[in-house]
């Protein structure tokens, strides 16, 4: 009796749904089973300088220029994705390489805006300089509709980048010392060619093989994934590239030391003209061995059990 009632009830519901049509089902927040992308869950905004971007304004641009690789659902599974390496970014995870913010935090709107304009070297992501700033800001807002993280979390605080220290041979020498000590060479290789002992084992957070950056490749036009200036290099290793094996060094390198590392990394770009390579040339292409200053030892060594020697 009861069961019969229920059956009637459900068949009533079913015919109502069918009559109302598919649009009603989508509007009722049904699980997305069909090939059509659900309309973005919530309209988002982006704020880049004085520009306010709106996700709704980017719908056409996203479908036309982005969806082919990043997919209608923003999951990085566009129709071209199978042919690409590295794979297109999956916006549903809201994990981004190029950030001015600490590892584990969301990037700022400006970070995403800059990435679209800059493109990602050594990948299929082009330089989108054909967009107006407004179009780019709208796309940033659109990207933010793919993950609810953008509703729940705030973007991280951009890290502070202090004024650059002078480029000297001592600075380069100390940078080289840090490059060894911090095990940068384990992936990037002793000459920065991306051929370190662990290079072949690296995978990204989706278990796809990933190559460490080859500093030696390219000439004057060589770029990094997240920029090309000394400030960009500083930011890259301090914040890390989330979703990749490249960690953040913000907690472990002092700002002055970080600039030394930047200066050394520039010398790994052997075919690129730079102040650093000028200084190195003046020193006879020879980087002197860095001798650890005894004054720096006591504070850092106090916790080290080996120091006592007994």
């Amino acid at each position: 009796m009861n069961n019969l009632k229920q059956a009637h009830f459900f068949s009533g519901i079913m015919s109502f749904v069918l009559a109302a049509g598919l649009t009603a089902v989508v509007a009722q927040d049904a699980p997305d089973v069909g090939p059509h992308p659900p309309t973005p869950a919530k309209a988002m905004e982006s704020h880049v300088a004085h520009i306010v971007g709106h996700s709704k304004s980017a719908t056409t641009d996203y479908r036309r220029y982005c969806a082919g690789c990043h997919g209608d659902l923003g999951d990085g599974n566009g129709e071209n994705a199978i042919w690409l390496d590295p794979k297109p970014r999956d916006f549903t995870a809201a994990i981004f390489k190029c950030r001015s913010t600490m590892t584990g935090t969301l990037p700022t709107d400006e970070d995403l805006f800059n990435t679209i304009g800059r493109g990602l070297t050594n990948s299929n992501m082009p330089v989108w300089n054909t967009f107006t700033d407004h179009q780019r800001a709208d796309l940033v807002a659109y990207i933010k509709t793919f993950s609810t993280r953008w509703e729940k979390e705030k973007a991280g605080e951009p890290i502070n980048i202090p004024a650059e220290t002078p480029v000297t041979i001592d600075s380069i020498a100390h940078g080289k010392y840090l490059f060894t000590k911090l095990e940068c060479w384990k992936c990037h290789g002793p000459q920065g060619k991306g051929d370190g002992p662990s290079a072949a084992t690296l995978t990204d957070s989706k278990d796809q093989p990933i190559r460490p950056y080859d500093f030696a490749a390219g000439g004057d036009d060589s770029r990094f994934k997240c920029g090309s200036t000394n400030q960009d290099i500083y930011r890259i290793f301090m914040t890390g590239l989330d979703g990749t094996p490249m960690p953040s060094f913000a907690d472990t390198i002092q700002p002055a030391d970080a600039w030394d590392l930047v200066h050394f990394l520039r010398t790994l770009q052997v075919n690129r003209h730079s102040r650093e390579n000028e200084v190195l040339k003046a020193a006879g292409w020879n980087i002197p061995a860095y001798v650890e200053k005894p004054s720096a030892a006591p504070a850092g060594q106090s916790g080290n059990g080996a120091a006592g020697g007994n």
């Binding site: 994990i95 590892t103 584990g104 935090t105 911090l182 662990s198 690296l202 989330d242 960690p247 907690d251």
Partner: protein, 232 residues
């Protein structure tokens, strides 16, 4: 009404450990079949670590003990005893000899995690979180502990990309009632108030199993889990 009684009970249990409940769920985790043989790890690329292991250690995906017991299984109350409060003390995860010790650690959501580097080499700690936020930090020798916490329950795979053989797990749970099996495969979940519980056993390679258990008073209920070894 029931909820308030329960929270008073929690309060008493927190304040006076002597008054804690006497219910205990304990048992053993075993496997059937033949586990895949663990491979010796070649650490020759990191001599300062290699010399700490003679003979070389093996991978720890499946660690077994005598009589088919299974180690590194997280056994926890997945339903019936959700604790809102994380313990004040931190859990520590140590990198020593280019190995994570212990291989699996459990913690409450929001509980402080401390990652230590006891090695003479730099490591990077890379929890590949999917539900929580993924992060990746470098930690040179002598650096202070990395401190963090995770807000959502999740089993998080942890890697060092510099030393690719290093692999471990963070088990982030919504309960303080958990145990990780040692080499004898045994576990014990004490201090349980009377109630109906779901006990879940999680192994990194063999997956999860659940059992429903009712604890009525000061008793010890025995629960065993048996995992089928994967053939590859």
């Amino acid at each position: 009404m029931r909820a308030s009684k329960f929270s008073v009970a929690i309060l008493i249990a927190t304040l006076c450990p002597a008054l804690m409940y006497g219910g205990t769920i304990s048992g053993k985790v075993t496997y059937t079949g033949t586990p895949v043989k663990q491979k010796p790890i070649d650490m020759s690329k990191e001599p300062s670590c290699a010399k700490q292991h003679n003979p070389p250690i093996t991978t720890e995906t499946v660690v077994t003990g005598p009589n088919n017991t299974l180690e590194n299984v997280v056994v926890y109350i997945s339903a019936g005893a959700d604790d809102a409060n994380a313990p004040a003390q931190a859990v520590t995860f140590t990198q020593k000899g280019c190995q994570y010790t212990p291989h699996v650690i459990a913690m409450h959501t929001g509980q402080e995690l401390k990652v230590l580097n006891d090695d003479q080499t730099s490591h990077n700690i890379h929890p590949l979180a999917k539900v929580n936020r993924e992060w990746n930090k470098s930690q040179p020798p002598g650096a202070p502990p990395i401190q963090d916490k995770f807000d959502q329950p999740e089993f998080i795979s942890v890697k060092c990309n510099i030393h690719p053989w290093m692999h471990g797990w963070f088990a982030v749970l919504k309960t303080n009632h958990y145990a990780i099996t040692a080499d004898n495969g045994s576990f014990s979940l004490p201090n349980l108030p009377p109630g109906k519980y779901t006990v879940t056993a999680w192994h990194e390679d063999y997956g999860t199993q659940k059992q429903e258990i009712t604890v009525t008073g000061n008793e010890t209920k025995s629960v065993d889990f048996s995992f089928k070894a994967k053939a590859y």
